[in-house]
């Protein structure tokens, strides 16, 4: 078990979705996906992103792509043209979620090439 950022076992892509953002988390192996599906819940992401997102967080699963898709419902400072924020489109929210540290079992870490 190693406490480390989930960037070791996942990649991410994010963008705007109305007044919120979507963060797709792409697991790097089947084991990593199973681990993230269990531990990277909507509540965990909401807590981690609390300073950026003022709304709720919804999670959707796409097993065929090993993707967990999170909708952060109020994360853009008003969204679109009304936002005064630098990242008004949530382009960097994926990398922010990847900074999350979890206790990741060694076999999950080893299942990812390069670790």
């Amino acid at each position: 078990m190693t406490k480390t950022s989930i960037a070791a076992i996942a990649a991410a892509r994010s963008g705007d979705k109305g007044e919120g953002s979507n963060v797709g988390i792409l697991a790097r192996s089947d084991q990593a996906y199973a681990f993230l599906k269990q531990h990277l819940t909507a509540d965990v992401v909401r807590e981690h992103m609390h300073a950026i997102n003022n709304g709720g967080v919804k999670r959707f699963e796409a097993d065929n792509m090993r993707v967990l898709n999170f909708l952060l419902e109020d994360s853009l400072g008003g969204g679109g043209s009304a936002s005064l924020k630098t990242d008004a489109q949530g382009k960097t929210h994926g990398l922010a979620v990847l900074r999350l540290e979890l206790d990741i079992p060694d076999d999950v870490l080893r299942s990812v090439k390069g670790n």
Binding site: S5, A7, A11, A12, R13, S14, G15, D16, K17, G18, E19, N22, G24, I25, L26, H48, M49, H50, A51, I52, F60, E61, A62, D63, N64, M65, R66, V67, N69, L71, G77, G79, G80, S81, A82, L84, K85, T86, D87, K91, T92, G94, L95, A96, L98, R99, L100, E101
Partner: protein, 460 residues
Amino acid sequence: MSAKTAKDKVLIANGQGFWGDSILGPVRLVNEGPLDYLTLDYLAEVTMSIMQKLKSRRPEMGYATDFVTLIDRVLPQLVEKNIKVIANAGGVNPHACKDAVLEVIRKHGYEGIKVAVVEGDDILGDIDELMAQGQEFRNMDTGEPLPTVRDRVTSANVYLGAFPIAEALDQGAQIVITGRGTDPGLVIGPLIHEFGWSQDDYDKIAAGTVAGHIVECGAQCTGGNYTDWREVKDMARIGYPIIEASAEGSFVVTKHEGTGGMVTVASVTHQLAYEMGDPRNYITPDGVADFTSFTLEQDGPDRVRVTGVKGGPPTPTYKVSMSYEDGWKATGQLTISGPDALEKAQLCAQIVWDRLAFDGFEYADEERMVEFVGANVCHAGIDGSTANEPSEVVLRMGVKGPDRDKVNRFGPELVPLVTSGPPGVTGFAGGRPKATEIIGYWPALLSKELVEPRVTVFTS
């Protein structure tokens, strides 16, 4: 449908991921390898509103002029290689766009080239009548009724589907100019035309939708904006994506040989996860695609095969994108050097708010913003993202609200910090920040039977 012999494979590329994407994408696509169709997306949510404003000042404007520049640059190759072009460059004035394109074709001396216009998406002038017929146009996100903003609406466009594009191609168009339509529709249109797909070929339409979603942001599926960026080779010459489609609905995502970037299962999955809501219900006017249904596999270098896409029937409504005037905003920035960069930047921000308050201008918390760029703006509040004392920061401030004069009062108090604030304040090029209009976005639904897409073909 198309009377000619159907091809086994059709090559469809997207060369423009958004308003402001590089012209090199489409220019290289027509030069660096084989291609049947080039699609180009020029319209963001707020673009239509900006175009309505341009058109109200000059009736011959209101479309993506970049598109005309591009056609001027690549027309000889398009003609020589018989590449067809589908672009939503028409904005709110597709006929003006078509006239400009025909003028370019004349200038190059080509005769007999067919240019089609797809329209019927612009319902700005019909809102009241449609409301009288019982259409509510409630905001899909908030549930608010339209009368809240009705008198401030500046554009209203239906997202049309792919079938009018296919019809234009059936009529022999080499260049198809549309107004608002779905992004995937630019790709599904030629597939319907080439393979004779019908409206109830739900799985095939869904496959076209997935293909269209993968390529709609240009290089974002070929290694652009990719987590493991060190793995991406030759990003300067990154290849734009090409769909190699088959009649039965499977397809390969690829790019031209010798271009930079990469097409891998991971690079394609990155894009599939972009701007995604519920992956089981990806709704377009042509059908509903299930993004959990298919399989991705590597099929040789820079080739990813997508098979097994499932879909369902379309919904009875079109999505409508409206924009409305939603107040004003102004933002500006200064660079503050060390020593003590962050502390001095914080002082500067306080000075600006205090001076504005002395003069009677106070901005509520939700009407003002301060960022210290370089000292953790993007990932504020995230563990592990806190920087050490930065050697310099960019102080970025802004205000917004319904009162234009009040928003404009902010700008003139920013630059004076250079001489009347702490030392090390610089970077004020660009003049005083001025109020710009905030354009609100209002998504809504409209019954399909009340919309009539129209296709007209013109010959040079």
